[in-house]
């Protein structure tokens, strides 16, 4: 019996170690794959977009920093428009846990995007926070860019000025926009890892 308990403990320890050894989001490394439901309840898998550039955008419509780039300026909707027109896949992720700020059902998420003229390719509902934690996403907004080979080429903030004021957008260095342009031109992203800023993601627990 004792022996079996030890075995059990060892197995649980091992599986924990395996989970933590799982690929994290590292620049220049393959972006960790995931599969998660979209707003219509259909599963969406990252690896199915191989061959296309993919943007991962963590969001929470009630966060003042998200509102800065949506409601107050239209900055992110404009970026989505331009990027998707270029054939980029834009995945909007919501990792707020049920009962926490920013958690919405699929219909509400889609309605919010219509209201804000936002045009992501998909809205992904990650209420368990699994994808968020896989990428170590910390803030809303927090952005990741995956190139056509499935390699992570950018992670960080949407731009360089950490503020909730829309008037700062024009003065800021647009990190994500620059990264998208570099990928399109087949160049190296200059600032590949920048400081994300915004509200903390309202994970479960």
């Amino acid at each position: 019996m004792l022996h079996r308990m030890w075995k059990l403990a060892a197995v649980s320890l091992l599986s924990l170690a395996a989970a933590s050894a799982q690929a994290a989001a590292v620049i220049g490394q393959p972006a960790p794959d995931f599969s998660v439901s979209n707003a219509n309840g259909n599963p969406v898998t990252l690896s199915s977009f191989k061959g296309k550039t993919v943007v991962l955008e963590w969001t929470n419509h009630l966060c003042p920093y998200v509102q800065k780039h949506y409601d107050k300026s239209g900055n992110i909707p404009a970026l989505q428009q331009a990027a998707t027109a270029d054939g980029v896949v834009w995945l909007q992720l919501i990792s707020s846990a049920p009962g926490k700020q920013g958690h919405v059902d699929g219909a509400t998420a889609l309605q919010l995007n219509r209201d804000r003229k936002a045009v992501p390719t998909e809205v992904l509902l990650d209420e368990s926070g699994q994808v968020g934690k896989l990428y170590d996403a910390q803030t809303t907004p927090h952005l990741f860019l995956v190139n056509a080979d499935g390699v992570l080429v950018y992670k960080g903030g949407i731009d360089s000025i950490k503020s909730s004021k829309a008037e700062d957008i024009a003065k800021a260095q647009p990190y994500l926009k620059d990264a998208l342009a570099a990928v399109k031109a087949g160049q190296q992203v200059v600032n590949a890892a920048t400081a994300p800023y915004g509200c903390s993601i309202k994970y479960a627990g």
Binding site: M5, L16, Q101, Q138, K155, K162, S164, P196, S200
Partner: protein, 709 residues
């Protein structure tokens, strides 16, 4: 109603004078902001201390210059008359706020951001100085609100300045005291083999005892802010292992920020630190705490381990008889309806879980009162050990059949099956818990060590899981009668078995008596045996009365005798304890029981030996820790191991935690432990200690000391 109106009016009237220095303060729902200056009348050419004070409601926080993984630093934008100059913000040392995978740096309750303001030398006398600032901040609990206020101040200018009010000066001086000081020690930074950095701060007083240490990087990207920083203090050298951030430091780059050191018995103190990254050195590296997975264990794993640990406790020599008693009782109940058996199972579980929760609450209470205790702390109290000895002895006498436990004092002897009501089951659970504590099973140490560092709710949950684990065999048995059928049929053998079980119980009582002798000196044996003799007589007398139903005075005298005996024992305890305070050597002498050759542990001795390149084995132990004693007997003191130690020149340092010892508790805490045993091996000339499992074998020890050469 009228009263409220009147009060409101009165308040408004009182507020009127404040309007005169309009908007020196402003408030949002979460933050009250105020502009403060150290003079209320200033003169030309003067340098003024000026501050923006934020008073923040409970549970909310604003941010430091580096807000951490999310958040935003407070900003102050001044509109000043030309010629007036203002210095950069000086930030008081921040605090850490951890929310899942996000770590933030900021302030709760109250903070004042300090600046220096220079009045031009040619400022005309009589012309007031008009200062105005826009202050933007983000205030967060879990959700965040960006806020912005306007603050303004008009300062009269005259030839002779006038100090601000005593209250304002007090606020300013308190804030000054919270500013990080220049580091009076030497700092060194170099890459670490794990990909992070190693920061060594030397020159700390040799006797300093730190409870925590944390480095706050001045900007994002330098460090992985949400990963733990491991630290170790040895011989006045503080070593920190810092995890690299997204933009790693190159050789020659500068790491700057605030080093926060918390000293035992004093508040945390911040030091300004700025160190240049040295090239990786192949030479002498400073020792850093062996990475201990326990500190960043997930809650789920801790709960699982607690459950498993609780389960293992059932096999310990002091618990097994109690468990067997319970199993026997269940067997005896097997004719009863299933519902009733299950109720017994749950009553037993409730007894265990509630008494463990009691322990946990006690721990929390001590923690709140500022006394940090480790697991097993009960056995550092001689009173507890004495009462436990008597209790185990009483249980043993009961198992031997000297007397029966009944609801009523004069109740006649009843059948084994009948005597156990739900109350009986409940108290069997309590008993199992109480006797289980010294046998902290191997898996439990990690879970409990984790629990001690967690918020109260997690700590309580860990204890609940521990209890469920301990209760699980009986609970399972009560739910699946099929399992019961596998056990032998009830019969006369049960009585024999029960009497047999008394002997491990007597053994446990002897062992506890020995623990008491370690705590109180060897002569405590004599009076303890007297107490036990009295107890056995009283209980035998009780047993006699139980066989002849009816009399009342007999059990009563038995009870009185029992209580008198205990009181006498407790009084003995006091007298020995007071002698001990005059002569601290008494306990020390007592604590040195026979065993392998060793030296007493101290940080200084360890550092000295390590500096000399001597391999060191550190043994954290206590007389009341059963697994420690077993390890010492079957592994450490074997000739095979002793020979290996002396061949390799390994020095055995022993940290004896039998009595309370704050220094040893802190050392254990540094390795993420809250109790003993802990075994560390420091190989000669190597940086990290090897942590050995909690069950030692001679082979393992010999292999450990040999392989590392």
């Amino acid at each position: 109603m009228w009263l409220r109106l009147f009060l409101g009016l009165l308040l408004n009237l009182c507020a009127l004078p404040a309007i005169a220095d309009a908007q020196a303060s402003a408030a949002t729902d979460q933050v009250q902001a105020r502009l403060l200056v150290d003079h209320q009348v200033v003169s030309p050419g003067q340098r003024l201390r000026i501050a923006v004070q934020q008073k923040i409601i409970p549970h909310w926080h604003t941010y430091w210059q580096n807000p951490g993984d999310s958040g935003e630093a407070t900003q102050i934008r001044w509109q000043l008359p030309s010629g007036v100059e203002i210095s950069a913000i000086e930030w008081p040392a921040p605090q850490r706020f951890v929310l899942g995978p996000v770590t933030n740096y900021g302030y709760s309750d109250e903070v004042s951001l300090l600046q220096w303001l220079s009045v031009p030398a040619d400022w005309p006398l009589g012309q007031p100085l008009q200062l105005q600032a826009t202050v933007d901040w983000l205030v967060c609990e879990e959700e965040c609100i960006p806020q912005s206020v306007q603050l303004a101040l008009r300062l009269p200018v005259a030839a002779s300045p006038v100090n601000a009010s005593a209250a304002d000066l007090q606020v300013l001086s308190t804030s000054e005291a919270r500013l990080p000081q220049p580091l009076p020690f030497n700092g060194q930074l170099q890459p670490d083999p794990t990909g992070g950095y190693q920061l060594a701060v030397s020159g700390l007083p040799a006797d300093v005892s730190l409870t925590d240490s944390y480095f706050f990087p001045s900007r994002w990207g330098l460090l992985a802010q949400s990963q733990p920083q491991r630290w170790q203090l040895q011989h006045g050298v503080l070593s920190l292992q810092l995890p690299a951030g997204e933009t790693p430091l190159q050789t020659g780059a500068v790491l700057d920020g605030v080093l926060l050191l918390s000293e035992a018995g004093a508040g945390p103190r911040g030091y300004q630190l700025s160190v240049t990254m040295a090239a990786a050195s192949s030479g002498e590296l400073l020792p850093v705490a062996a990475p201990s997975a326990d500190t960043n264990m997930s809650t789920t794993l801790a709960l699982l381990l607690a459950f498993a640990g609780g389960f293992l406790l059932n096999l310990m020599p002091c618990v097994f008889p109690v468990l067997s008693m319970k199993a026997l009782a269940l067997l005896a109940h097997s004719q009863q309806p299933l519902v009733e058996q299950r109720r017994h199972g749950w009553a037993y579980t409730a007894g265990i879980v509630l008494s463990l929760l009691g322990f946990a609450l006690l721990l929390l209470g001590f923690k709140a009162a500022g006394t940090e205790l480790g697991w097993g702390f009960q056995f550092q109290s001689p009173l507890f050990v004495l009462l436990m000895t008597c209790l185990l002895f009483a249980v043993a006498l009961n198992l031997s059949g000297v007397y029966e436990i009944t609801g009523r004092l004069n109740g006649a002897g009843q059948a084994l099956a009948a005597q156990q009501g739900y109350r009986g089951s409940f108290f069997t659970g309590v008993l199992a818990t109480v006797v289980a504590t010294p046998c902290t099973a191997p898996l439990m140490a990690a879970a409990l060590g984790f629990a001690m560092t967690q918020p109260p709710l997690t700590l309580l949950l860990v204890f609940v899981c521990l209890g469920l684990g301990l209760a699980s065999p009986v609970l399972v048995l009560s739910y699946w009668p099929a399992l019961q059928r596998r056990l032998p049929k009830p019969g006369p053998w049960m009585l024999v078995f029960r009497q047999m079980l008394a002997f491990p119980m007597y053994g446990a009582a002897i062992w506890l008596g020995w623990v008491l002798a370690q705590l109180q000196g060897a002569d405590s044996w004599s009076w303890l045996l007297m107490v036990l003799l009295l107890q056995s007589f009283a209980l035998w007398w009780l047993g006699q009365s139980q066989q002849r139903a009816g009399t009342f005075w007999q059990p009563l005298t038995a009870l009185v005798l029992l209580v008198l005996g205990l009181i006498w024992g407790v009084l003995q305890l006091k007298s020995v304890a007071s002698e001990q305070t005059t002569d601290p050597l008494v306990s020390k002498k007592g604590a040195q029981h026979a065993g392998p050759a060793f030296e007493p542990y101290s940080d200084a001795r360890l550092a000295e030996l390590r500096a000399a390149g001597t391999p060191v084995f550190v043994n954290f132990t206590a007389a009341w820790c059963l697994s420690c004693l077993v390890n010492e007997k079957v592994a450490l003191s074997t000739t095979q191991v002793q020979q290996a130690f002396s061949e390799r020149g390994v020095v055995h340092l022993k940290a004896d935690w039998t009595a309370r010892d704050e220094h040893i508790r802190q050392t254990l805490a540094r390795y993420g432990r809250s109790g003993v045993p802990l075994y560390l091996f420091f190989p000669a000339g190597q940086r990290d200690a090897v942590e050995l499992p909690q069950i030692l074998t001679p082979d393992l020890l010999v292999r450990t000391v040999s392989v590392v050469d």
